[in-house]
Symmetry: C2
Subunit: 546 residues, 2 copies
């Protein structure tokens, strides 16, 4: 059997567009000799459609589009992911996460998803009723076990044993020739390698090939990386699809040879490519072709600009330097050097006059009070006024440039440098901002070495340095990984991991107190296993001290 | 049996504080002759603790606090809601939503929650494994059916039959003398009356009294309204607890007489009291005693100021009027009149000079372009710079004043008038802003009648009126109720509800396009069945046109 794997990029709710993409890939596979074609999980709706499914016409229009695809599917079966009504007479959730096998102009068979992830960024139990049974489906004379994403994830790869059912086992017990998996598995660093190892295990345990078709493309905070795979019955990975781009290929299951392992790329390259895809898809799927951003001469804005220039082309990136009396001379000159290296436009608009005018306006209320954080925030917010004016006037989406470490401890100004439609680096710890920047400079100086080498500073008061307010970034990031990503309590970080109590307690307080800022932050691209945003749901009002 | 009902206000994660509150209520009930004392759902952790439960020390510290309460519980049983580990050997979620019966210094018995709401604002399947069984518990020689919140909600009061189990039926079949329910049921308009009718039905069908103890107090976006109840075996409501305040009372189940019905209050009063509680709890639980806000002379900021003055005292509310060249004279004079009526401070800071300076700064980039929405937004954002400066300098939390109708169609400026720590009216449609304001003026003029009677305007360009950009508010709000609250597709609103196609399509486009603004909005107090915020999860990038 020759399997066509369509690793395609859907847009949520775009039924006509997604159907067109699916059909184009289907026809391409047929031309390449496919006997059957598989697409990703919810390929027709995009993943995750979230509460859109509750709209009265969402599922009806989805089913219309599925009928259209069925009409177009002739001899060669096409497997499509879609959202179905739950038509069972039993109580339960209103919908199903489903896969249909289409040929001879009809929906010939279907399978509902069995294991519904309801953790981290996933909310499937909010919408979907699990399958009642998993049954092999006959396709091209072979018995195929059809599974959807989580259905194939085994306990040792989950955080804990979560499910009482085991769809792969249910299918294997009934006898199958191959397992197909329609997937929409979002990217996190090291996840492609983890998936590969998991799928190899599943194949060798089941003793049949596994065909794994993953989505590619970004949807809001989630980046789907592709990296579709085929594992042989022996558990060898015999086909690697590329990451972060669409790919349509046909594999002959009777003629599988161990594929050249093109993974792992270095982490920095993987992160860079993930962020480029995330930025490109978010902006273009929202209808923007241009972005703008503030260039401070620091490393975060420099890396963000580099990612944007790669994603959209340098001609579509507009930088603004906005020096104040506290800015170093490098803040402008390094920005101009960066802009030249990237080929992007850069303008300079000093904030001094507006800053003075704002202070003068507020003076009757503030009286003789000392300057404090108020005036620091004022500068950041005046810059936001300038940047949003540029965004409004030029139609360029403003990017915000803060990294995960800053956002964690609230070292950023709400309605100031946090302004923007997308937070490109908000899931990248500062130490990774450095390593990705160095990787980017591996052949030539793109980000000025001066930017990379100087001590980081917000430049909001004379001679300010990040190190005045924050622990060294390597320590900060190590503690944040434990506290934020692994959700280990401060007490345990001190007692079991041996970090300095005062530092840990300072970080704990700052992370907890700044939840209010993060809940008004721009959507950020997720590249770790635990990002701020949809997958991390903390109350703002809370007094738990752990 | 005399039941003490402790309708108390917990703070999420505040184990020492919550234990103290529970104990104080327990002792008060004992003094009043109680044989048993019931507290709300998760009374020890606060509801909902959300992802805090994943922290390595959260459940251990919760169990420590429970042990402490058990130590303090002597002869009289105390029923406490808490989060437990899932200790079952079977796969499943890591935690339980639990209720423990404490007496003689020990945890004597416990019951896990069976029905786990995973819709709207609820995410319980993310955390909790349901009970394996519901068993009557003997308390004071009576067989008590212990249930937790959703366990008692019957199908006809849910959106659709959701659950295969029926805890009340399981308990009644085993024989019970009464049903106790520990609840944390958030407020929405008309929900208190709905709960009352549902609980009366449950009691009469089961043929035993139902004791319903609901939480009170606001937690971020959710307002728990209390309104605890006792229903007799005949289905009569024999005790009403007050709404929006703590209350501790003892009821004699052997001596129940139909209570005076003190519900319904008028809708406007209920909404006002809900918002006052929501604002007071959000600010004070966050550690703020003061708030500030912009006063535009319009009705939204006027009502917000009135709610704040009621919640925190007028001496803790600081208003700022920030007139521009486009402001009507009323914008300042009506604000001053309002401030006098409320007894709050009001200062005036014109924006003209800063506005001119910002335009001058951007002129080299903007060149000869016409003024457009850029300059309108600039004014709103300059006001935000002023207000946040006041907030930073004075330590007062900034309130944002936009209503639900504006937020729905994006008739508001991100990083401008959307700035603030809490969005007080963001779930109140404009027509309700009017009706609550009129109700507030029922005895004397608190909100200037000029503010209520003048045509609403954002005053960002000469002679601007809301009606230049928006459909009439009564039509807008009717369509928004269908589109946002009921999630009915635009096609169905046009075809089945008979609204004008052009108007509906305009609203649909605006609601969909402005999702990005709402995802950066301040947390808003939920007072309808479907608020923007945690209970409404739409993608930003999506192309579904319904």
């Amino acid at each position: 059997m020759k399997v066509g794997i369509a690793q395609i990029n859907a847009v949520i709710g775009d039924f006509p567009g997604n159907a067109k993409r699916i059909l184009a890939a289907y026809r391409e596979c047929i031309e390449k000799g496919a006997d059957v074609v598989i697409t990703p999980e919810l390929s027709l709706t995009g993943y995750p459609p979230r509460d859109l499914v509750f709209k009265s016409q969402f599922v009806p229009k989805c089913l219309q589009a599925l009928d259209y695809l069925a009409d177009e599917a002739k001899v060669i079966p096409l497997i499509v992911g879609y959202v179905d009504h739950n038509t069972s007479a039993n109580p339960g959730k209103p919908f199903r996460n489903a896969a249909a096998v289409l040929f001879d102009g009809k929906i010939q068979s279907l399978q509902h998803k069995t294991l519904l992830p309801t953790y981290d960024v996933f909310d499937e139990w909010r919408y979907f009723q699990p399958s009642e049974a998993c049954m092999p489906i006959e396709i091209c004379g072979q018995r195929i076990g059809l599974t959807i994403c989580e259905d194939i994830w085994t306990e040792e790869y989950l955080q804990r044993p979560l499910y009482e059912r085991n769809p792969v086992q249910e299918l294997v017990e009934q006898g199958v020739d191959a397992i197909f998996n329609l997937s929409a598995s979002p990217y996190a660093l090291h996840k492609p390698a983890r998936r590969q190892s998991m799928i190899a295990d599943v194949a060798s345990e089941a003793g049949v090939p596994v065909i794994y078709c993953n989505a590619i493309g970004a949807q809001d905070q989630l980046i789907f990386d592709g990296h579709s795979l085929v594992a042989s019955a022996k558990g060898e990975i015999v086909a690697h699809f590329p990451g972060f781009e669409e790919a349509v290929r046909v594999l002959d299951l009777e003629n599988l040879e161990a594929a050249e392992v093109n993974e792992p790329r270095v982490d920095e390259e993987q992160l860079f490519r993930a962020l480029v895809l995330g930025l490109r898809d978010y902006t273009t799927k929202c209808g923007f072709s241009k972005v703008c951003l503030g260039l401070s001469g620091g490393i975060d804005s420099a890396l963000t600009a580099a990612i944007a220039a790669e994603a959209l082309g340098p001609e579509n990136v507009h930088g603004l330097t906005m020096p104040s009396e506290y800015s170093s001379s490098g803040s402008v000159s390094d920005s101009i050097q960066l802009a030249e290296a990237l080929g992007i436009r850069c303008d300079t608009v000093p904030i001094k006059d507006v800053f003075e005018e704002v202070k003068k306006s507020m003076a009757p209320i503030f009286g003789e009070t000392e300057e404090d954080v108020t005036e620091e925030n004022m500068q950041a917010r005046i810059r936001a006024v300038f940047l949003m004016a540029l965004s409004n006037k030029s139609g360029a989406m403003l990017l915000t440039t803060g990294n995960k470490s800053e956002l964690a401890v609230g070292y950023c100004t709400i309605y100031g440098d946090m302004c923007g439609g997308l937070a490109v680096l908000s899931d990248l710890p500062k130490v990774d901002v450095y390593s990705v920047s160095r990787w980017l400079n591996r052949e030539s100086e793109i980000i000025p070495w001066a930017t990379i080498d100087k001590p980081p500073s917000a430049e909001l008061r004379p001679d300010q340095k990040d190190s005045d307010s924050l622990p060294p970034y390597d320590i900060l990031d190590s503690i944040l990984e434990l506290y934020v990503e692994e959700q280990i309590s401060a007490t345990d970080i001190i007692e079991k991991h041996g970090y300095d109590e005062e530092t840990v307690r300072w970080i704990q307080r700052r992370v907890d107190l700044n939840e209010y800022k993060r809940q008004q932050a721009a959507p950020g691209l997720r590249v770790t296993t635990k990002a701020f945003g949809m997958g991390r749901r903390y109350p703002i009002v809370q007094r738990f001290i752990d």
